[in-house]
């Protein structure tokens, strides 16, 4: 299958290894990946912070860049949620029927990474090997917007050598919330400390999620407190084989 990758602005900049891992997994499964250089950002940060006018051109660019792609892979639950939950509204606000049509045509073609693997490609075993203990943070968008359910878990359970440990109070928000982490530092930190307590309690070596946004926040505290625990995006675990982790 021909799969077009929307890497997301923050993965592009801060977590290119997640993109490399997505490419590795999809190519290993025999698919071809396309990366359209015209892509930038879905507009979530601006939209959620109240700068909805600034998000509009970002949406238009997205619609234009991915206009002809049948299958679009997005390794970020929050960006998928932005598109599914808010692009229709933004289209309505734009008053442009062409935009509304474009959004309607787009929605069935976008897939979060674990959705792509499990629902579209019908696989849960991607041939991965990762001999570590791992705990999964579900992330609010995965849970409540995308209703990913147990897709990430099913993928992880097929990874050879991996021990999956349940995360207590898993559906509690980690406290990132985009600009919330900056505008409400104290509360964000308090929420993070609760999440950290749960992660540390599992004694897992790795914390994973379908969203690097949450992981960036959780990893920030894991590092600050010198816990020796690291965060890896789900794709990076799935990309790992006997030959080693994709970096």
């Amino acid at each position: 299958m021909h799969i077009s990758l929307f890497i997301t602005c923050y993965n592009d900049t801060l977590f290119p290894q997640t993109g490399r891992a997505v490419v590795a997994v999809l190519e290993r499964l025999g698919h071809t990946v396309e990366f359209r250089q015209g892509q930038t950002c879905c507009g979530q940060m601006h939209y959620n912070t109240g700068y909805q006018a600034e998000a509009m051109p970002l949406m238009r660019r997205f619609l234009e860049v991915f206009r002809d792609d049948e299958t679009i892979c997005i390794p970020s639950s929050s960006c998928v949620a932005m598109i599914r939950d808010h692009y229709p509204k933004m289209a309505a606000v734009s008053g442009d029927p062409a935009v509304t049509r474009a959004v309607e045509k787009l929605l069935p073609r976008i897939f979060e990474f674990s959705e792509l693997l499990v629902d579209k490609l019908g696989v849960t075993d991607v041939g991965a090997f990762f001999p570590h203990s791992v705990t999964l943070h579900p992330s609010c968008h995965s849970l409540r917007s995308l209703h990913l359910g147990d897709k990430p878990e099913r993928l992880l359970k097929q990874v050879r050598g991996l021990t999956l440990i349940d995360l207590p109070e898993a559906d509690e928000c980690c406290g990132f919330g985009g600009t919330f982490a900056i505008k409400n530092v104290e509360v964000s930190a308090a929420m993070l400390s609760d999440k950290l307590r749960c992660v540390l309690g599992t004694r897992a070596e790795i914390c994973t999620a379908a969203d690097n946004s949450c992981l960036m926040h959780i990893a920030g505290a894991l590092s600050r407190q010198r816990t020796g625990i690291r965060c890896l995006h789900l794709a990076e675990i799935l990309a790992s084989t006997e030959a080693g982790e994709v970096s």
Binding site: N11, L14, Q39, Y51, Q52, G175, F180, V187, M216, R224
Partner: protein
């Protein structure tokens, strides 16, 4: 017009208030314990109900219908209530409502009133107006009694004294009720409250209440409670004054079948709360000889005017969103500076005030969506939060530094060339802050991040650069 939502207009910004509370270990423990208990109770009794989603849908639709035709239903209520012997008053704002109520109390030469829990009266600061007029109001809900005797503010819609533990309550009762040997078991404290208040129930001739629902078709009012103090106040005194926000109207008596299922399970995690009182006007069979309803606007028409966020007024004041909210869990209600706290408070408080005050409240959320999941009338709180943030930015209330940063980011994100350039610039700019592969301090707006978290430096090569390089290299 003087719209007032308690002291919200002069309350500290949410991040400032939150900072103090997050550092208060006792409050955090109290709030956590309380919200855990109610969350679990609610989850259990909701799981029992196999038509819960259908009830939520109906509750939402009924409320949306009423709001669309609020003028009709309010007038229908007024006519029916008046026919049944009630007197209906209209108040545009807090001052008007206070004046009407104080005048009514004075007309009966009463110097004391007993009150049933109503957040609406806190919203208009009724107690202060009564006291200024020489009338002593006695709160009769246990939690409100605790808050009143403790010279405090409520911190939760349904459990207002959630921020107090038994030792603190014992101290307050012992002092104010003059009970030096008072025990500290919850049973002892409740017994003290029972005796203290019974004397007033049987004697004070004027009561003030709120309403959970006002039924347009019949002119009835419904009050939902657990303790029995509402039953006391609604049926024993000679004069009853009921303060009702205009959004409390429901169309017909039968609609209680939906709301009396949604409310108790959501608010206190019970199949049904101990007591509901429904009454219409004045009854020949006993109860108050005189009944007044004060219909209150106080900014509700502001909320009505925005058709995206109008559904804020669907709220039936169950408090489930507070209990589910991970932000509220860390701070309790006082951080919101409003009688309405938590997720519903974050959207209701600024809207009542036409977005002129409480502008940090819509940002007091990580948009996790837990509130929407538990709202019995399906108010899409996250969507409304985002919408209100949009209004704040559009109406020019966003901080200048933030606006500039967001515009700069939007500029950079508008084309891949600019994005690549911004990435290059950031890689250079981070250099002085990167030590041994980690960033521990950042300046300005980003200092908030590094005050509690490390940051991994921006990698040397972005994904798009890696991809472009890979395309250039022939693959083996």
């Amino acid at each position: 017009m003087s719209i007032r939502v308690g002291e919200a207009a002069s309350a500290p910004d949410f991040p400032v208030a939150a900072k103090k509370l997050v550092s208060n270990a006792q409050i955090r423990q109290n709030v956590r314990r309380a919200t855990d208990v109610i969350r679990n109770k609610r989850a259990r009794v909701v799981a029992e109900v196999d038509d819960w989603e259908q009830l939520r849908d109906a509750g939402h639709e009924i409320k949306e219908h009423v709001l669309r035709h609020l003028d009709f239903y309010l007038q229908q209520f007024e006519a029916a209530c008046t026919r049944a012997g009630g007197v209906v008053h209209w108040a545009s704002d807090a001052d008007e409502a206070n004046r009407i109520i104080v005048d009514l109390v004075r007309a009966h030469e009463a110097t004391e009133v007993i009150k049933v829990k109503t957040m609406t009266s806190d919203e208009i600061s009724l107690n202060r107006a009564l006291q200024a007029a020489g009338v002593t109001p006695y709160e009769t809900d246990l939690a409100d009694l605790i808050v009143q005797l403790g010279d405090d503010q409520p911190s939760h819609i349904v459990v207002p004294a959630l921020h107090r533990n038994r030792m603190e309550i014992r101290r307050i009762f012992s002092e104010k009720m003059n009970l030096p040997d008072l025990g500290y078991r919850p049973e002892d404290l409740t017994e003290a409250a029972r005796a203290y208040l019974r004397e007033k129930f049987l004697r004070v001739p004027v009561a003030i209440s709120g309403a959970n629902f006002a039924i347009a078709e019949t002119g009835a009012v419904c009050v939902v409670e657990s303790e029995g103090n509402a039953r006391m106040c609604l049926s024993l005194p000679r004069v009853l004054i009921t303060l009702v926000g205009i959004e409390k109207i429901i169309p017909k008596f039968r609609d209680l079948e939906v709301f009396l299922q949604l409310l108790p399970r959501s608010a206190t995690g019970e199949r049904m709360n101990p007591y509901n009182s429904i009454w219409t006007g004045v009854s020949p069979a006993g109860g108050p000889r005189e009944f007044h309803v004060v219909l209150l606007d106080n900014g509700r028409t502001n909320v009505l005017a925005d058709d995206v966020s109008r559904e804020t007024l669907d709220c039936i004041r169950c408090g489930a969103c507070l209990n589910a909210c991970p932000v509220y869990r860390q701070t309790g209600g006082h951080a919101y500076g409003s009688v309405y706290a938590g997720p519903i408070g974050a959207i209701l408080t600024p809207q009542l005030q036409a977005m002129q005050h409480s502008q940090t409240l819509p940002y007091a959320s990580s948009l996790c969506g837990a509130c929407y999941e538990v709202c019995p009338v399906k108010i899409n709180i996250p969507e409304i939060l985002i919408h209100l943030r949009g209004r704040i930015v559009e109406e020019n209330h966003a901080p200048l530094v933030e606006k500039l940063a967001m515009k700069a980011a939007a500029f950079a994100l508008e084309s891949p060339e600019r994005l690549s350039l911004a990435q290059k610039f950031a890689r250079i700019a981070q250099f002085p802050f990167t030590h041994d592969g980690v960033i521990r301090h950042l300046p300005g707006m980003l200092a908030g991040w590094t005050s509690v978290r490390d940051l991994a430096p921006i990698p040397k090569q972005s994904f798009r650069q890696w991809w472009a390089q890979r395309q250039r290299e022939p693959r083996l």
